[in-house]
Amino acid sequence: MARHQGRGFATIEYPTGMNQNGDPTQAWIKLKPDGRVDVFSGTVDIGQGSKTVHTQIVADTLGVPYDWVTMDNSNTDSSAVCTGTFASRGTFIGGNAVRFAAERVRERILDIASKELEIDPGDLEIADGEVVAKGAPNRKISVADVAGAATYNYGELISGQGTALKPFAEVNDDDGSVQAEPHSAVSYAACVADVEVDDETGEVTVSRLVQVYDVGRAINPVLVEGQIEGGAMMGLGLGLLEESYPHYPSAEHRGEQFGAYLAPAIEDLPELDNVILENPSVDGPFGAKAIGEMANNAQPPAIAAAIHDAVGVWVTEYPATPERVLRAIKARAQPRREGKRVIFDEEISLRTVSANGGAGFLEV
């Protein structure tokens, strides 16, 4: 009886935006007479930090300080359509919507500044809340004064709207092919799991997760870390702890309280080593891709591979509970070889379990 160390890893990819697209986010922005910026977006902040990220995107697209920007995502009357916070679409699609809206606002600021300064808009740039002539930094006007002039001299509300929408990509039902890209971008990640397996109890402890994420551009690196860390624990739950139906496929014996359903707790926290790569997307805001959802995908297979590395058995029914690990250790199953076929997991396969050998599912 002993504790065995093991290491496993996994590499994954995950798409940004709803599969097959067709999921708009719209945003609009207006300026107050002192140049302060009101952003209206319907993107729901479920804790991932879209309000923060969208504010950063707007501030830099406009060239104004971050704290000039307020974000109202509070209701469906003042905000326009956002399909929702899911499909890892908040930073890319929601971010593009506020970016496109801010670009239009920027055009209006430059146009009015051009009249005030009598300089062609193409020769102006905005930085730190000031519109400045390129190459002549003393010729400038503040965005606040531009907004004031718009309001009181030109009779204009400086505003802009933006929509990010990739049209629905039809799928060919015969072969699954698509004519248009059915997502906005694809993010990638790799995860290395170091585990310890107790061959007496079947308990698996994750000691370390090394995780590498390509997010295109980390608009806010610390919020990206938050997704990586939160995702790591959710992935650990998927890999080792959580199941709604502990005797699946039976629907009985469900946990109905935290004492009976094992959501990862603080004592399950392994050492985490996060690496953020920035391989920019072609058309996301500032090169961003996505991070949210993929963050719990790589750990479960990395952990399962590490269990094999530690004790030489495959646990292919997730989560790898102590019971499943012990059963696997006891069975010491070897794949069956038939010609060049190497067959694992026959006991749970459709062919074995179904009364008709899987007819109807197989060979269609």
Binding site: I46, G47, Q48, G49, D60, T61, Y66, D67, N96, R99, E103, R106, R217, A218, P221, V222, L223, E225, G226, I228, E229, G230, G231, A232, M233, M234, Q257, F258, G259, A263, P264, A265, I266, E267, L269, L272, L277, E278, N279, P280, S281, V282, D283, G284, P285, F286, G287, A288
Partner: protein, 178 residues
Amino acid sequence: MELTVNGVTRAISSPPLTSLLQVLREELDVLSPKAGCQQGGCGACTVLLDGEPRRGCLVPVAAAEGHEITTVEGLGTPGDLSPIQAAFHQKYAAQCGYCTAGMLMASHALINRNGGREVQREQVIEALSGHICRCTGYVKIVDAVIAASRGDVDVEKEQGLLVAEPSEPAVEPKGAPA
């Protein structure tokens, strides 16, 4: 009955076996403790009774009478944060924020119990065991509690915005404005 919450004593009319959480939220409008499970399992309703963390959903209000009850509202305000609140904000220990009040109270109690010494990681894990956070993965919560115990937070700085220098993009972004 009377209840002393964050230094203010008020008469209450709820029956004695009503949970403290229920009285705080529904009778006194003290809203920071959250009804995450009402099974004693998540920790989101944790408040302090004479400085000790208790689950508001498990304490009958009669048992809280005569004790000092402290909630997040009594720790500090946006203009006057307590060190643990400043640390949670500066270290990004809150994501959705629903577990935060309970985490703050249990952490605050731990730091006080520790008598001004730096708390160790194992102590944080013990103190927050049974507090469920589904968002953060706990990493930044542990960091925040240790930082607060060390005094490694700038309470003043929290009055305004933290503005950090941005990282340079690894590759020149293509989506930036011209």
